[in-house]
Amino acid sequence: MVSSATDVRPTRSEAPEYGVRPLVRVRDLTIRYDDEPALANVTFDIHEHEIFGIIGPAGSGKTSFLRALNRMDEFTPAMEFDGRIEFDGHDVRHMRNLYALRRRIGVVFPLPVGLPMTVYDNVALSPRLSGVRKKAELDEIVERCLTRAALWDEVKDRLHALGSLLSGGQQQRLTIARALSQEPDLLLLDEFSIAVDPVTTMRIEDVLKELRDELTIVLVTNLVQQARRLADRTAFFLMGECVEVAETEALFTGEVREQRTRDYVEGRFG
């Protein structure tokens, strides 16, 4: 575990702690849709090699946060954001090559999106887009990514079947393999288990625990217990507000600043 106890609270200090390099820094982030705020004044850091959980009820701005992070706001004309998001020290708003930013950030959507091509092509797409042509090299990438996503054994005999014919749980692991094929520094998962059976969910959770050694993960989840199982630190979003950011265990053992957090974590809400 990399996160340190000194960074339990949202901090405005820009000085990086020793040994805890922030990969993403969020400062006073406000997201609006047609001037209607969806997320207001959020400030926190996401450290390298941590799993950063985000919990909160539907409509709290969790997905909007992820979309701002890899600049998917480009595709939603109504969406705009103020404040600053830094990825690896660069302001995402003033990057000159957004495609390069997105290549370094893998995304897994709530409903698995198996692209309408073979299993192999799904995983090989991103390397191909960045210019990998050699078959041996692609073969190696496809096998490695599918293995890391715990899917290789199930699909190694049907690599050339359509990806969309896999089961929902397999397709979600396929999208994880596809995200890994980008060799991302950051992996964003948006409620990945919403359409996945409990057994597959557990397998994916194991995969994520292993991936922590290689990359940084932001795990948006509507399952509070999933955040507890996986996340090093967790942020609680509520109705467009980031109520608090804390060591995950602290949230669950009651060391919270806000009563609202305790109520949500303990399932006593509304």
């Binding site: 495609y99 370094r104 999106v113 692209l115 797409l125 887009l129 079947a161 980008q182």
Partner: protein, 312 residues
């Protein structure tokens, strides 16, 4: 079989009473069946009629070597009528081929622009415009070919005649493009946005998304659009009759006048005696068109299906 559980409601409950909705549903089913069958019957009827009219020619007068191998289509010759379709077939093929060369890139480009790039009012305006273009009657296109394109070709290329493969191909291409655009655009619209978003999220550029994800996903619809265009080109009569020069010719350059199979039928059928050899020969041309269209559709079907079956 009797049940141990006594029904809670009386025997004549909702479960056994057929209500208005039930009868409407049955009625609708019957109507749909009748409509569907009448379509099939009409196609078979047309096929039988054409075959019956043309069959006498095929069995009695047709000489395969002459029919397929000769360019001499002289049905009205007093001394010795000949029925060679080579030039007519070449006319139809060259005009349709050129039309597709023009219409395919045009319509796919337009569909991609309208479907993937244009937004809001521009997009709506373009769609209305394309639909308006699709509604222009073919005789108007033929008229444009004769009065605008004809002198233009003569001036620009310094050739003696402007009614040619080039003229008819351009006219037919422009004519087929709008309907192909509409169908291709529908095919692009049917590609779920989730595919685009997933590809964009992995850092694909706009063009990569379109070429690597959207177009392959819309492949079937795009093939359908192109084939519809080919069918349109093959079957189009009036515009081709007016713009092609209607001269029997084996074309060696785009500036040669040609004559199409459809145009031949349209121009000559009114002047033949019912049941004469010439009359039957024209119906044989009809059978040929019917067969070619059928083969095109069948091939398309096999190509589109065969692909997806293999991938399964």
């Amino acid at each position: 079989m009797t049940s141990d559980v006594a029904p809670r409601t009386s025997p004549l409950s909702d479960l056994d009473r057929r209500d208005a909705a039930w009868y409407w549903d049955k009625l609708a089913q019957v109507l749909i069946l009748v409509a569907g069958l009448s379509g099939i019957v009409a196609v078979i009827g047309i096929f039988v009629f054409i075959t019956k009219e043309g069959f006498g020619f095929i069995s009695e007068s047709l000489i395969p070597a002459e029919f397929f191998g000769s360019i001499a289509w002289r049905p009205t010759s007093e001394t010795r009528p000949t029925y060679g379709i080579l030039a007519l077939a070449a006319g139809t093929a060259s005009v349709t081929g050129l039309a597709m060369l023009i219409a395919v890139p045009f319509s796919l480009g337009a569909a991609i622009y309208i479907g993937e790039f244009a937004e809001g009012k521009t997009r709506e305006a373009l769609k209305v415009l394309v639909e308006l273009l699709a509604a222009i009657p073919s005789v108007v296109w033929g008229f444009i070919g004769m009065t605008i394109l004809n002198p233009l070709i003569i001036d620009v290329f310094d050739v003696p005649v402007g009614l040619s493969v080039l003229n008819a191909g351009v006219i037919l291409g422009l004519m087929a493009a709008p309907i192909m655009t509409t169908i291709a655009e529908d095919a692009l619209k049917a590609v779920p946005d989730g595919y685009r978003e997933a590809a964009e999220a992995m850092g694909a550029t706009r063009w990569q998304v379109i070429f690597q994800v959207v177009l392959p996903a819309a492949k079937k619809g795009l093939v359908a659009a192109v084939l519809l265009g080919v069918g349109r080109g093959f079957g189009e009569t009036m515009a081709v009759l007016m713009a092609s020069g209607h001269a029997i010719n084996l074309p060696t350059s785009p500036f040669d006048s040609v004559r199409a199979i459809t145009a031949t039928i349209a121009a000559e059928l009114g002047e033949t005696a019912h049941g004469s050899e010439h009359y039957k020969a024209l119906f044989t041309l009809g059978i040929l068109l019917f067969a070619v269209t059928f083969v095109i559709n069948l091939t398309a079907d096999i190509v589109v299906r065969g692909r997806s079956r293999k991938k399964r």
